[in-house]
């Protein structure tokens, strides 16, 4: 039996990022109080704008991805050509949402410029997902159990996003390890 708890969380992952409101103003005042006085007094307007922009960006990015227009066409630079919506048009908004998320993540990690031999295990996993994905699309055309198959397809998208997230972290780690010790903050 599938684990409905994991399924529930995976399916609603983006809603979990906004379940508790963050008191942004109060948070900024506290952060401002901790920044160096010289920075605050000399460069306050720009600094404050920059800080506010960074905080807003950090908070809004997940929200923005979640709310990305479902009717947008998939991004042109997305190399994924497998389309569920071609065989099952009602899936179009859901597919567009995932295509957008995946394209954003790939763009973020510079996926297209990654060396082909970098992280072979993760690349292999992505290739497997593509194969399984193609198989499920065939199943979708062949069989009537659309709901079940679409659930599987959602899992593929989520797995793809998880692997891309891992790639992003690997890239972070490599950069971090390449730095001289004294420059490493994390």
């Amino acid at each position: 039996m599938r684990d409905n708890l994991e399924d529930f969380i995976t399916k609603n992952k983006h809603n979990f990022e906004r379940v508790e409101p963050l008191p942004i103003d109060a948070m900024w005042h506290r952060i401002e109080g901790q920044l160096e006085p010289r920075v605050r007094s000399m460069r306050k307007p720009i600094w404050k704008k920059l800080a506010a922009a960074v905080i807003s960006l950090a908070i809004m990015i997940p929200l923005g991805l979640e709310m990305a227009s479902p009717m947008e066409e998939p991004m042109d630079n997305d190399p994924i050509t497998l389309s569920v919506a071609e065989v099952y048009p009602p899936w179009q908004p859901e597919e567009n949402k995932y295509m957008h998320l995946i394209a954003e993540k790939k763009k973020e990690i510079g996926f297209d410029t990654l060396a082909s031999n970098a992280h072979p295990d993760l690349s292999e996993q992505l290739r497997h997902i593509d194969k399984d994905f193609a198989q499920s699309i065939e199943d979708l055309q062949r069989y009537g159990e659309k709901e079940a198959i679409l659930k599987v397809l959602v899992r593929y998208h989520e797995r793809q996003l998880n692997i891309l997230e891992k790639l992003a972290r690997e890239a972070e780690k490599e950069k971090h390890n390449a730095k001289p010790y004294e420059e490493r903050i994390y």
């Binding site: 994991e6 990022e17 960074v54 905080i55 950090a58 891992k166 992003a168 972070e172």
Partner: protein, 152 residues
């Protein structure tokens, strides 16, 4: 990323303190960000490291969990569909009720996409401990959810 921290530390006040410290570090070290990876990933990594650091500093002996809870018989699947009444808010609240280590492993694995191997390195535990904690978390979470949904 605020929610990633809440899920790891379990309460919003502590999470706000950690996010605050994290942002101060972000601003202080912004010049070191070279732009060749996503700023969101970089910042989130800092926040998660801050949360892990907080958990390490406040490390306590694991609490004794419910008496009906046996690791040997633990499975990570429900024996029936118990999802009626679940919503994001209830699941979020139930996650916050988990013991610290379970909650941290659960959040890193399921929400942040870490592997058990990576979690083991981050939390200085073994990979099998990470897997066990994950199963414990799911089992406890289901119990909490049953209680929360029953209370209505």
């Amino acid at each position: 990323m605020y929610h990633a921290v809440i899920r790891m530390v379990g309460d919003s006040a502590t999470a706000q303190d950690i996010v605050q410290e994290g942002f101060v570090k972000v601003f202080k070290h912004l010049h070191r960000f070279r732009g060749d990876s996503g700023i969101y990933s970089w910042m989130k990594r800092i926040m998660i490291n801050e949360a892990i650091s907080h958990i390490r500093k406040n490390k306590t002996k694991p609490k004794i969990v419910e008496a009906d809870y046996h690791l040997e018989g633990l499975t990570d699947e429900a024996d029936h569909d118990d999802s009626a009444g679940w919503d994001v808010s209830k699941v979020h609240d139930a996650i916050k009720l988990l013991p610290t280590r379970c909650r941290t492993v659960f959040s890193l694995f399921l929400f942040e996409g870490y592997s058990h191997k990576e979690i083991a390195v981050e939390l200085t535990i073994s990979e099998s401990t990470s897997k066990t904690q994950y199963m414990r978390a799911k089992k406890l979470l289901r119990n909490h959810l049953r209680a929360i949904c029953y209370e209505g």
